[in-house]
Amino acid sequence: MSTVIESPRSEERVNYLNVKDSWKSWLFTTDHKRIAILYLISITAFFFLGGLFALLIRLELLTPQGDLVTSDTYNKLFTMHGIIMVFFFLIPSIPATLGNFLIPMMIGAKDLAFPRINLLSWYLYIIGGLTAVGSILAGGVDTGWTFYPPFSSTYSHTYVMAAAIGVFISGFSSILTGLNFIVTTHKMRAPGMTWNRLPLFVWSHYATSLIQLLGTPVVAITIALLAMERMFHVGIFDPAIGGDPILFQHMFWFYSHPAVYIMILPGMGVVSEIVACFSRKRPFGYDFIAGSSIAIAVLGFLVWGHHLFVTGQSMYASLIFSLLSMVVAVPSAIKVFNWSATMYKGSVSYQTPMLYAFGFIGLFTIGGLTGLMVASLALDVHLTDTYFIVGHFHYVMVGGMVLAYLGGLHFWWPKMTGRMYPEGWAKFSALVVFVGFNLTFFPQLILGYLGMPRRYHAYAPEFQVLNVMSTAGASVLGAGFLIPMIYLVYSLFRGPKAPANPWDARGLEWEAAPSPPPTFNFDKPPVVTREAYAYSEEAHVG
């Protein structure tokens, strides 16, 4: 399948990018597509900031001794890496960029239900992010991104309050995004766009939004209570008055475990779209993929105690959480089977988005399997707080989520920007990312199994070889992330202009709107007359 490239027209048609140029028209926009671009730029900035901390961590871990930085500084490095990557990159990433851009288009609407709340969402994200950056510049936080008391409430002498406030504010950004998506999906669908014609990308964002709505408020109040304890030197997590620090962990993980499903479900939605397009087939078991998204959202709320297995949580609660943690793997596995079945007897091609989708499926499976291993109580006692856990969550978060993000960015780049990226460079950097990723994180699974603890700046000498491999991998991975930055930005100025549907994909965003789309998305409001993913039919022109 070759890409049809149209010759550039002498005058450019009016689209959402060029309709108005002033900074005010961007900073006060209510156009969901412009807001998506604002998010894209800010999220990328935070990603590289978090990556900088990762680089420093890996540099320290080149040698067994703690010789690059002090242990206090090292504590700050992994804390800031975690806070930025979790709250300011992973949680917003796909929903705020691709979700914001695509959901109204995919359902045939002119915008989200609440455009001004969408803009407010971005401002809250920026304010929260800048507050967190402020805590970094002031000297950093060293509590871990998990903020456990009594260290965070009483004994840490770092800028916990600023970081906590930054996370609190950005939580409301997440809540408002979820709220917008839910109401939009219910109320703004075009005529003929029934629930079972919705793209799976929309289903996955719907499930994600449910989690954002129901979970984020709990971490908000938890952080508020922690901040109050730190400020007033008394609080409900303080053992001196009978408080239980483990209650903080319960409340914190009630959100933070479902949060990981906030991170992965949108990625799964992206993979569903890409696999369908590049297999030229309707996704196998559409109902099951849609239903499994909802199942993951619901079941994901019932497993948080697996983060508390060694804390003194009761054995009986731990047993139930362990069992439920195994159960939550089932809907994810269903998705993997369905994607594989979609490719079977499909007409598979290997453009960059599909390469990232393949990477996702493989690496997410490994990450998920290691998750099952630590869901088992007896194994977790040995593996908790080791590098096995670090390897596990980076497999699902980076090998899964980030690859899906990159794949989605490449897939929808022509639609969002009206330009094609250079396919050769893109394929190359996808390979670099894949190799670099595995070289970084597979050794960590082994290190954890061998007993190397996490969050330590020094380690036993016998672990050095694997650590050097991991750091080498991290450099390769970093390069793999930098190369797309360069060619994607380059493509904005010099890339060939993209047609409305370069992949011959199905979906309203491809078939009913030009690249880039006009401000109100469609030249005329679409009416949906056929099922989703009609890949076996002729391409629908315009």
Partner: protein, 226 residues
């Protein structure tokens, strides 16, 4: 089709451009507010969760605190908020039947009830300060056996009623805006969604207090004290 949409926008000045008609706009606004209230259930729910855990751990200490609570004022405040919910519901109804004067009156009454509630709350907080019942270094508790764990209840008291009061203050701000807008004739039976959704918010804040009153003020009311 584009022409009919343009015509509808001209005749319905309150219709926002991304919506097709007023029905869609109204039902989106109400679903949006209900969804937001869902998040508020979980926000307060976290504190209810902490309360539940600690009350199960320290039942006697929690019961001992009722002696130091101003139950009368708590009950009065509960009734004040219930009255404010009535006037709020009547305000929405007034908008639905195009009774502008009654709408304004009901909104103003709701706001007044809200201020009464906040005033009583402020007085209660002052009482607690005077009686050394603020958790921390100046906390003094006559019931020596529970001097530590009682602080947990009082911390939760201030946290839960404090966040509730913050929500009341926001509600008062929203109410003020409604009063201003309604005095400009903004609302009618054709467009009263803002009144409806502020009403939903207000009733939710009332519901939170309906639970706070028995859980904070009446734990040990059955105990006899000298």
């Amino acid at each position: 089709m584009a022409d009919t949409i343009a015509v509808e926008h001209e005749h319905t000045p309150n219709l926002q451009h991304h919506f097709d008609n007023m029905e869609q706009q109204f039902s989106s606004a109400t679903l949006g507010m209900w969804t937001f209230l869902l998040t508020e259930i979980m926000f307060f729910g976290g504190m209810f969760g902490a309360y539940t855990v600690y009350r199960s751990m320290y039942p006697a200490a929690f019961e001992s605190t009722t002696h130091y609570m101003n139950v009368t004022l708590g009950a009065v405040n509960t009734m004040v908020l219930i009255c404010s919910s009535l006037t709020m519901a009547l305000a929405v109804r007034s908008a639905q039947v195009d009774n502008q004067k009654l709408l304004r009156l009901m909104l103003v009454l709701t706001l007044i009830f809200g201020f009464v509630f906040l005033g009583v709350k402020g007085y209660e907080y002052h009482e607690k300060w005077v009686e050394h019942l603020i958790p921390g270094p100046h906390f003094e508790y006559n019931n020596r056996a529970f001097a530590h764990e009682a602080q947990i209840l009082f911390f939760l008291y201030f946290a839960m009623t404090g966040f509730h009061a913050i929500h009341m203050i926001v509600g008062a701000g929203l109410m003020t805006n409604l009063i201003i807008q309604s005095s400009r004739g903004r609302y009618s039976s054709q467009y009263y969604a803002p009144v409806e959704i502020v009403g939903l918010y207000w009733h939710f804040v009332d519901i939170v207090w309906i639970f706070l009153f028995p859980l904070l003020y009446l734990i040990g009311a059955h105990l006899k004290h000298t």
